[in-house]
Amino acid sequence: MRLDAKIPGGPLEGKWDARKAELKLVGPNNKRKFDIIVVGTGLAGASAAASLAELGYNVKVFCIQDSPRRAHSIAAQGGINAAKNYPNDGDSVYRLFYDTIKGGDFRSREANVYRLAQLSRLIIDQCAAQGVPFAREYGGTLANRSFGGVLVSRTFYARGQTGQQLLLGAYQALMRQVGLGRAALYPRREMLDLVVEGGKARGIVARDLVTGKIESHAAHAVLLATGGYGNVFYLSTNGVAGNVTATFRAYKRGALFANPCYTQIHPTCIPVSGEHQAKLTLMSESLRNDGRVWVPKKPGDKRIPLDIPESERDYYLERRYPTYGNLVPRDVASRAAKAACDQGFGVGPTGHSVYLDFSDAARRDGPHALVEKYGNIFEMYENITGESPLQTPMRIYPAVHYTMGGLWVDYDLMTTIPGLFCLGEANFSDHGANRLGASALMQGLADGYFIIPYTIGGYLSGTELPKVNTADSVSFRLAEENARDGVAKLLGVKGRRSPHDFHRRLGRLLWENCGMSRNETGLLGAREKIRGLREEFWQDVAIVGPGEDVNQALERAGRVADYLEFASLMITDALERRESCGGHFREEYQTPEGEARRDDANFAHVAAWEYKGEGAPVVLNKEPLEFSAVHLAQRSYK
């Protein structure tokens, strides 16, 4: 398949304007004739749904939770980037673009990232106008802080609850449209299939999670904004309802899945404590502004941190990366923590953690200043571990956090299925092989508020879309049957092991072999084991209770079944990419100092995987990445 990203010609700075100028428009009275399905109500979905309804389209919005406000975007803590240059510290659209593309280890599309940097400024204006209570200075202007991987302060925040406040802004905009009757809400619904008719996406099949009813919904276009698949690893910072189901089923209907192996491991999370943990808790990256990371210089040093004198501490990030110090990007910080622990310098009961120490900042600015910035994060830490970060250093360890991979989309955010768009974390577009902090919120809102409202008009006005009726459409009937069969098959197994148990075992296999570092032997072994686990799943998964009712074991089992298949695709992608880049660290490809070694000659491309049917091998399609504005450099944060 030839992948056409439809990137407009002309200079980088003018591409988005050029695209907007050439896109056809839908007339104001015609918009209400178009039905648009938005699956997902996180930042990407809620902002898209609200904006499209404001324009006059008929919008139907779906989410798994009982309320759109509970999408996982709500949990984002640290902040959102924008090239406003309010602090006058040398920021610009170009610099944000450059930092983001470099942070992504030169594995993202130049034109997309540049547009993202341009739109970043509008996002802050829009959110401020909605009443998002951003942090302010005494004079009433907006406050900024810095995040990993950059040398300027461009991150806007609302205490440690930035995602919550941005999402509530988008949710309120959406609820306003619901109140006005322009958007209809379908909460507690899980999308189980995409319906393609006449070669175009024309609707979805969803399960009502209360009644178990399988429903068909038709539309002129479908937007997937279903978030990331990080909890394929079982333990991650993602919410427990996270899944790959929506995008994976779209993949099975013909959408290509890009870079599935690109996973972000976040360096600052609360370490794993026991067997029966449902998830891991992130400690915002913003903490690295004031916290210093260290381990004892002696391996296996069991003294309490306060008893270890300065001279016997190794502030290894500051030592190895003097320019960026504690603010190196996530992939670099995570690997450095893993290396320290693997060499026996790790601290805490399991030896799988490092210190993040605030004592210098507390001496410098006073504890009050720390509480003002990080109060709720400190509280969260104390509640979970029983220790106060103001008294003793935090203990942190990397954890799965974000997935850069996702459905392949062109510059208009359309997948390879016409009429199927993909937004937010669910697409692959802007972060390459590693995402810089505070840029997911930016991307989700750029996609939803500022890109899709333009590009969808171009699609709808230029495409023949005959009416479909769900009742007599064969495609809908088949998709419904497919969904019903899927449920029946799961209920029919009647085994003895819980879906959680399979999920946990799958997660462990992936974490060990396709996590922070990967090698061919490990990947091949894991692929075999996952195949075995999948077979065992279909013989022994336990689901009790009917399909026509709230049945959370059934929901989980469906998601785990998809993860078990999807995990093989991740591994195939990780095997195929014989280089190290960003979050994808192949042990075979590293520099003598242990840094990632990219191979631009052979791997400067997006790997977009195509499904060819049950049992058939998947097909790799490559979109070459061309760089005109930036020079491909070995990333250095020294």
């Binding site: 205490r159 309120q172 609820m175 427990v240 026991g274």
Partner: protein, 257 residues
């Protein structure tokens, strides 16, 4: 550690429901109460029994999905935490822990510990927003908001919409929930133009949804996992009275269902 979980089981909204006792052993002190319910559910599945339905997503106190009565308190006896943040070290080994759904007229039980809180969404749809369409907002720094005022707005905006305030209130009022949103937006210049309309519409919607009235019991503040202050209720009442006095009350449109 070992516990007896006394859990409310109810098939659906029509079923009368009852408590069932379950023994759960092998619990670690750092586990949350939801981890413990997960463990119970895994064991129930292994025995071929139907697991307990309950809601959660973020498991870190921010999404507002979880919400259980634990030993008679919404989100448990510990102040300022959500159910998912309640750790087992809070309970003595061997204790019996009573777990029920949030109960209120406006929150019908769906199954076991799952209730329907969509009434809260409809209160927001009635007026809990700033009417600004996407695009063409002015530069963010052209709206100045003093640091303290922004901090107060943020205190109010911290609400996670869990409904604990409603569940705690003897009248099942949602005044703290609505008051927090009205306060946040009233404190900001951006929210000012619609201040009256918002207070009237949200107040009216509360009645329509079957929420009760405030009789100053202060239970809501005590139960709020985000420690949102009852002063926001006073603010809501004040905004409502002010709006009613200021405007020849225009006909307030309440959005459909």
């Amino acid at each position: 550690m070992n516990y007896t979980l006394r859990v409310w089981r109810q098939k659906n909204s029509l079923d009368k429901g009852r408590f069932v006792d379950y023994e759960v052993g092998g619990v670690a002190p750092e586990m949350s109460i939801l981890d413990t319910l997960d463990l119970l559910n895994e064991r129930l599945l292994q025995k071929g029994e139907e697991p307990v339905a309950f809601e959660s997503d973020c498991r870190e106190g921010i999404c507002g999905a979880c919400g259980l009565f634990v030993n008679g308190y919404p989100h448990g006896p510990q102040k300022g935490t959500t159910t998912c943040e309640v750790r087992m070290r809070l309970f003595a080994d061997g204790a019996t822990i009573v777990i029920e759904p949030f109960r209120a007229k406006a929150f019908p039980v769906v199954k076991d510990l799952v209730v329907d809180r969509s009434s809260l969404d409809r209160v927001i749809a009635a007026g809990g927003f700033v009417s600004v369409n996407t695009g063409n907002a002015q530069d963010a720094n052209s709206i100045l908001v003093g640091k303290d005022r922004a901090a107060k707005a943020m205190d109010a905006a911290a609400c996670i919409g869990c409904g604990a305030c409603v569940a705690a209130c003897p009248n099942a009022a949602a005044m703290l929930f609505a008051g927090a949103k009205v306060t946040q937006l009233a404190l900001l210049a951006q929210g000012n133009p619609e201040r009256e309309r918002r207070a009237l519409a949200m107040r009216e919607r509360l009645d329509l949804e079957g929420f009760g009235n405030c009789s100053n019991e202060y239970e809501c503040e005590a139960a709020c996992p985000k420690k949102i202050s009852v002063s926001h209720i006073a603010r809501l009442n004040w905004e409502y009275l002010r709006a009613a006095a200021l405007s020849e009350p225009e006909k307030v449109e309440v959005g459909p269902g």
